[in-house]
Symmetry: C2
Subunit: 336 residues, 2 copies
């Protein structure tokens, strides 16, 4: 069986300080592997990386249209936001369309992922609400689907709730991977999360990006979620976030999304390819570097997009006095 | 050559989600390895884990006594604090003894490591100063040594400044490792940091804890720094920090200190042993689990200390709704 490979290292001075192992799969819509680094068969909890697949039923069912979800609200359903004011307002707005408020969310509350947003909230004398949870947009989407279906909204995160069954089917069908026997866990936001091979996740995003191999309504739903994300990239993450910055720099060319514990995915419509990265130790800094380096190789961007990706694939590290002290970079030979 | 070993894993549901490789060295004061897991010869940047060794000249030179440094101020010189109000006040107090203020610090400013301290600072409408830098206590110690020696205090972080030469000699002599040819880098606080084998770091802390193999004045200085840390453990880290909690639970039995990028050290005076851990990927969560598991095996504590360590060696993970979702734990067979 293949093993994870050394993908990313950090340096200090002239020496390597830390090392990240991981795997990368790039697949086309028929599941052919264009890039296969490390172990692409070991099941990986997809976490928030598959939010866009989880949002497909929200569109396909007509729920989003019935309640008039905006582009921003659709993008937020695909995102893991920083809890910045625009994210909180957008989540609240989506819930208001359903006649609901933050009390309906079952995701729990936490301080905003964005340090500056957290400090601004504290400075305003406020505590975080469930709207600040980085998954509040996805949960608003879950609730929208429940409302449109006429389901009981309480307990919408349960494995056997019709919303979670619809979401699971969409992910299973798009990735071509049977989730009924896949390892299942509970995500930080309380939603079920499944473990599936990187190869299957990459296939899912190849189909998501190209529409190839999807029923027409699902292909159109995927297209709409990507358009929403490209038109409102700040809803996917937030200020200074890699997925947000990359989609802002490469609209139409790259849909990119982070997941917790070192997972990153991308859909590249023009190439008909999907990308899935897992860093074994869960480090986001390494997942970003690996995804950035992969996107550079596949898309060969120029201008500001190239600079942005290069700055993540090889990111300088500074002391607190802004002295350069090292870097985070793809390990030599990581791509074989 | 030995390779790093799987030390720590995180789980979600019934499955392993992420994996951390690393190495552990436990040595006595003559350098005999009692525990040797992974690669204990590869140079590792010791970062903040060796602050207590770096503080030896502060005591031995008489500088700390000349300026009347308190126990809290000595402990803070060995610590990487959370930027809580008591830390900031203590750092400011130490500088005041020298007739200096925060402007003399060359460590740069950053928001407090403690999230709640950072939010409290923001809520008070303030920005972080250099006193909030987690290394401000160490830097106050450097300045104290410079003042006592009559050195120019500007540029006290330069490799060839007399303070850094004294500090380097103390670390080299205590660890028995020649630092003149060791890889050197710049730490986040601007101070030089050297890479040396875990074996040497463990030896250094075996000597530090037991006094064995040290000149009498150095052994007494080490004893004094440990006493200061046990009497003011909150100065070593802060609220909910592993090193602080462990020293609070095991005074006289364990001096414990974190370093950035997955480094952790301990001195166990009663056993005459030193411990050094490096997690390859730099993850603090894994370094804590590995150190906790190692301390349990070596010290066999009972009561609250045992509970505290067990809770770090195998730490439950919760969703934002406080549902248990997995754990961080030592991998089976990690100790061979």
């Amino acid at each position: 069986m293949a093993s994870s490979r050394l993908l990313v290292e950090t340096t200090r001075g002239a020496s390597v300080e830390s090392r990240h192992l991981g795997s990368i799969a790039v697949a086309d819509a028929e599941g052919r592997l264009v890039v296969e680094i490390g172990d692409v068969e070991r099941p990986v909890f997809s976490r928030s990386s598959v939010k866009a697949l989880q949002a497909l039923p929200l569109i396909e069912s007509g729920a989003a249209d019935r309640y008039g979800f905006s582009e921003e609200e659709l993008a937020l359903a695909c995102g893991s936001h920083g809890g910045e004011p625009e994210h909180v307002e957008t989540a609240a707005g989506a819930l208001a369309r359903l006649g609901l408020d933050a009390d309906a969310l079952e995701c729990g509350a936490h301080w905003p992922l964005s340090g500056s947003a957290a400090r601004a909230l504290a400075a305003a004398g406020q505590a975080p609400s469930r709207l600040h949870n980085c998954c509040s947009g996805k949960h608003a989407g879950f609730l929208c689907l429940a409302c449109a279906r006429g389901d009981d909204i309480a307990g919408y995160l349960a494995l056997d709730h019709p919303v979670q069954q619809a979401v699971r089917s969409a992910v299973a069908e798009t990735t071509g991977h049977d989730l009924s026997t896949a390892p299942v866990g509970v995500d930080g936001c309380g939603a079920p999360t499944y473990a599936l091979p990187l190869r299957a996740i990459a296939l899912g995003f190849a189909r998501f990006g190209s529409g190839l191999g999807l029923p027409p309504a699902r292909a159109e739903a995927a297209r709409r979620l990507m358009r929403a994300s490209w038109s409102s990239p700040s809803m996917i993450g937030g200020a200074r976030r890699f997925d947000t910055e990359t989609m802002r720099a490469l609209p139409e060319r790259a849909f990119v999304k982070s997941g917790a514990e070192g997972v990153y995915v991308a859909a590249l419509p023009e190439l008909g390819l999907g990308v899935a990265v897992k860093i074994d130790d869960g480090a986001e800094r390494a997942a970003e570097a690996a995804m950035a380096a992969t996107l550079i190789r596949l898309l060969r961007p120029d201008g500001a997009a190239a600079e942005g990706l290069a700055g993540r694939a090889r990111r300088p590290l500074f002391s607190y006095s802004d002295e350069p002290v090292g870097e985070i970079r793809m390990a030599e030979g990581a791509f074989g």
